[in-house]
């Protein structure tokens, strides 16, 4: 299938926060609670459209367990976007965000777009991290923030698409050298090669979702 761009995403965050469920919800539009825990990494992909351009998202769903970190770090390489996920019902997953962020900053390219996601927002009655706290953390660290539910699909679509929109915007602004694949962006059919960098065209990248 042809695409104008391909973006590489990674999903990171503590084990059990719902990374694999988010991916499945986004790619297959379903929630499967009996999904196997992730060892190493799993892959997903989906086409989206931004600014009328088909964009392929290739998503790396990583294992959250601490002891796998040395492996998962190698997956950051060349990711254009990251979803950093915590579980709003488990405070410790929020507390670990700093260390995840450190990892990302250290091992990913500096222009990687990071979306902070507080997942399982359907479990409001068990909430252990308030929305404000999430917003605050995102603000302090220059992240985009969103609360989602992989179970009800709330905001899942937007989380992925808004991240892509941000990346697209950066391309339009010429922040990325798209010919350099270490940014996690591949240019698809050749017509679009020219639009990399400062190329003209409209910059209205928003896909119409809500955001932060």
């Amino acid at each position: 299938m042809s695409y104008a761009y391909l973006f590489k995403y990674i999903i990171i965050g503590d084990t059990g926060v719902g990374k694999s469920c988010l991916l499945l919800q986004f790619t297959d539009k379903r929630f499967q609670p009996v999904h196997d825990l992730t060892i190493g990494v799993e892959f997903g992909a989906r086409m989206i459209t931004i600014d009328n351009k088909p964009i392929k998202l290739q998503i790396w769903d990583t294992a959250g367990q601490e002891s796998f970190r040395s492996i998962t770090r190698s997956y950051y390489r060349g990711a254009a976007g990251a979803l950093l996920v915590y579980d709003i019902t488990r405070r410790e997953t929020f507390n670990h965000l700093t260390s995840w962020l450190e990892d990302a900053r250290q091992h990913a390219n500096s222009n990687m777009t990071i979306m902070l996601i507080g997942n399982k927002c359907d479990l409001a009655h068990r909430r252990a991290v308030s929305t404000e706290e999430g917003e605050q953390f995102a603000k302090e660290n220059g992240l985009v923030f969103m609360e989602t539910s992989a179970k009800t699909a709330q905001n899942v679509e937007d989380a992925f698409i808004n991240t892509a929109a941000k990346i697209y915007q950066k391309i339009e602004e010429g922040i990325f050298d798209v010919s350099n694949e270490s940014y996690g962006i591949k240019v698809g059919y050749s017509t679009w090669t020219a639009s990399g960098g400062t190329g003209g065209g409209n910059t209205s990248a928003q896909s119409g979702g809500c955001c932060s």
Partner: protein
């Protein structure tokens, strides 16, 4: 045949340029050769005797040197020759003429007398395409490519091995001249002039019993072929082979039968000859072993393909490779073979070997490019006659797996008090055939080390009771933690939570663990939490539930499953250590093995920054648990736990799978990302049996050199016990 005598003969054979077209050429893809047309005259179809001065011209449309027949497993007995396709009028003929004794002798080479006869026997002077029924292409991931040609008469030629590649070109040339249809049943089988008439196909036992390899039956069935001058002449110059040699020597039965595909299979099995091939990369695998093989065979009568003789060659093979009782993985035996060989080599011969090796190194540089092309299939390999003893330690590609070990046979392994008399034999049996599902619960306890092989029935019974109590005690340690206590016990809560969130995400599609409130999921949790108290330092890590799940599924009884799991973890715990040293050790061993067994692939990984082998991480961490369906995992784990050929069989398996896909990996220029994705997506698409066979071959083949790639103590070896070591600081 080879340019040197004795030990180096085989390699000399490969590298002796004088005999063949220059290496650059012979390694290049064979192109149909436009031969100077010369005069010839056709005879009746299928039989062509071409005399001088005939008006008809013929054209060599394909020529390939260094195509050989392997009458026995001994590399030294390989008969090399030249394969040609010759077009005459509308007909196409295939010839395969071995290189001559005299040719070799003239170059000061001695050659076994017996092979002269063999050469006549195996020579294919001219077989018309009209006589061919099928051609099967074999392109094993690590071995020589070869083809087996079955004739409409029901006869089969022995496999023709392409030492410098060219099978594809051979087939495509054929396709240009004849109707070649890929079989629906097997994409590697090409049906020649296939008449699609199912009614004509018959499969009778009569036909099968009449099947005999062409080369064996020819002399008896027909007057021996006219021995033409060419047989005694070095066949190098194209012109030197006059077409008069091209009369058919194929034994023909009065009635031509339509061989069914099943027949083809059977026929091919008959044509299987033992072989023990080596190649350009063989220097990696310990020259002496190979050289020794040929050297030792010099004073033996050559072995001919025959079912009865096949076992003889098997025995000989075993003398080289049969693992010793004292040794659990057969390494010693190989070493012994080498020693013996060394003893037998005279100083002169040794010098020759050294010289040969030096020359080879130089050649290697030259050939690097072509070697790279061929490496996939050139890591020499061995193959024994189909249907020989099941207990042969040697690999047989295409050998059916022996039936799994059942209760009745299991009883024969035990003495009257229940001790396993010969654990080695048992392991071997399990390695090759696996275990019947209903015997697994008992046998796994032995394989995992929970039961000792030398324990009696009574001892085991006592052990079970004792261990049940012990398990209960362990479980009580955490089951009695009250809610109030747990509230002040974060570490416990956390640990329990980690297990709980994972057992509900483990194999829930398997009926045994399916559905809400599944009791077995609770047992899974209880065992894992208990284990994390039993081994508090290690605790629970992801991947453990994957390892426990099949064990509980098989063993069922909770306490027994726990102790089996604990025994497995004695070996596997390093996989889960926080520092990942155990995983790193295994990944680096895989890297070394690839370097040994497929150097071009190693170079490729190096160039593409893939040497960390992280793409094998999941394979190793949980022993391929996620790569096969559940039942295959059970089958695989038995093989691994038998520790028969190697404790690190799984590492060889990584190499086998990578090798199988090496072409794709390199052709598509996969980098770390794409490679990782590719490997991940292999899950569920790896064929277990053939992978096991490939792995077995690799493992045997790598021998000592393979073992040397794996440092002692690499998991899942039991940790090296240091007698006076200080207790580990906590």
């Amino acid at each position: 045949m080879g340019g040197q005598s004795g030990p180096t003969m085989d390699s000399g054979d490969f590298f002796d340029q004088s005999e063949f077209v220059p290496s650059s050429k012979s390694n290049a893809p064979s192109k149909p050769v436009q031969d100077r047309s010369s005069s010839s005259s056709g005879n009746e179809a299928g039989k062509m005797v071409v005399g001088n001065g005939s008006p008809d011209s013929y054209k060599v449309v394909f020529i390939k040197d260094n195509v050989s027949v392997h009458p026995t497993q001994n590399a030294s007995e390989r008969i090399s020759g030249r394969l040609r396709l010759i077009k005459q009028g509308a007909s196409l003929f295939m010839t395969w003429i071995p290189y001559t004794v005299q040719g070799a002798a003239r170059r000061g080479t001695s050659i076994m007398k017996s092979t002269e006869k063999d050469r006549n026997l195996y020579t294919i002077r001219a077989v018309s395409l009209a006589e061919m029924r099928s051609i099967r292409r074999h392109t094993p991931p690590f071995g020589l490519q070869y083809v087996i040609i079955v004739l409409t008469s029901g006869l089969a030629f022995p496999p023709l091995y392409f030492h410098t590649g060219g099978v594809r070109e051979f087939l495509s040339t054929l396709r240009n001249h004849a109707l070649l249809v890929r079989s629906n049943d097997d994409s590697n089988v090409y049906l020649v002039n296939d008449v699609q008439d199912p009614l004509q196909r018959s499969l009778t036992s009569l036909e099968l019993t009449e099947v005999t390899p062409v080369s064996v039956i020819t002399p008896a069935a027909e007057p021996p072929p006219v021995v033409t001058k060419e047989d005694d002449v070095e066949p190098v110059p194209e012109e030197s082979i006059t077409s008069s040699s091209m009369h058919t020597s194929v034994y023909r039965q009065g009635v031509r039968r339509e061989a069914s595909r099943e027949i083809i299979n059977v026929l091919e099995k008959f044509s299987m000859v033992t072989k023990f091939a080596r190649d350009t990369t063989a220097h990696l695998f310990g020259e002496s072993r190979f050289l020794g093989n040929s050297e030792m065979d010099l004073d033996r009568a050559p072995m001919r393909l025959r079912n009865d003789d096949a076992s003889k060659s098997n025995i000989e093979f075993q003398t080289l490779n049969r693992p010793q009782e004292s040794n659990s993985d057969g390494k010693e035996a190989v070493a012994k073979g080498e020693d013996e060989t060394h003893r037998r080599l005279t100083g002169v011969e040794k010098e020759k070997i050294e010289r040969g090796e030096k020359e080879k190194k130089e050649e290697k540089e030259e050939k690097k490019k072509s070697a790279e092309e061929e490496a996939a299939t050139n890591v020499g390999t061995f193959e024994l006659v189909d249907g020989t003893q099941n207990d042969s330690p040697a690999l047989v590609w295409g050998r059916a797996r022996p039936p799994p070990l059942g209760h009745e046979e299991w009883a024969t392994f035990l003495d009257s008090e229940g001790r396993v008399v010969d654990p080695k034999a048992l392991k071997k049996r399990v390695f090759h055939g696996g275990v019947e599902p209903n015997l697994r619960p008992e046998l796994w306890k032995f394989l995992l080390g929970h039961y000792k092989f030398d324990s009696t029935y009574a001892e085991r019974e006592a052990l079970v009771a004792l261990k049940r109590e012990e398990y209960k005690v362990l479980q009580t340690q955490w089951k009695t933690v009250s809610e109030d206590q747990a509230r002040r016990f974060a570490k416990f809560r956390e640990r329990k939570h980690r297990v709980e969130k994972d057992v509900v995400r483990t194999d829930r599609t398997i009926p045994f663990y399916e559905g809400d409130d599944n009791k077995n999921v609770d047992i899974l949790r209880d065992i894992l939490v208990t284990y994390s108290f039993y081994n508090f330092d290690l605790g629970y890590c992801q991947g453990m539930s994957d390892l426990l799940s099949p064990i509980l599924h098989v063993v069922v009884e909770e306490s027994e499953a726990f102790w089996c799991f604990a025994a497995l973890m004695e070996r596997m715990a390093p996989n889960f250590h926080r520092d990942q040293a155990g995983m790193q050790a295994q990944l680096s061993a895989v890297s070394k093995l690839v370097q040994l067994l497929d150097n071009p692939l190693h170079d490729y990984f190096k160039q593409n920054d893939c040497l960390n082998y992280f793409f094998c991480f999941r394979w190793i961490l949980i022993c391929f648990k996620r790569e096969f369906d559940y039942n295959d995992v059970l089958r695989l784990w038995e093989v691994l736990w038998s520790h028969y050929l190697s404790e690190h069989f799984h590492l060889y398996m990584c190499v086998a799978i990578l090798k199988r896909h090496r072409r794709k990996i390199m052709d598509e220029q996969m980098e770390f990302d794409t490679l990782l994705k590719f490997i991940n997506e292999l899950s569920g698409h790896i064929e277990l049996e053939s992978t096991l066979r490939d792995t077995e071959a690799l493992c045997l083949f790598a021998g000592e050199k393979g073992t040397a790639c794996i440092p002692p103590g690499t998991p899942p070896s039991l940790p090296v016990v240091e007698v006076d070591a200080f207790p580990m600081s906590l």
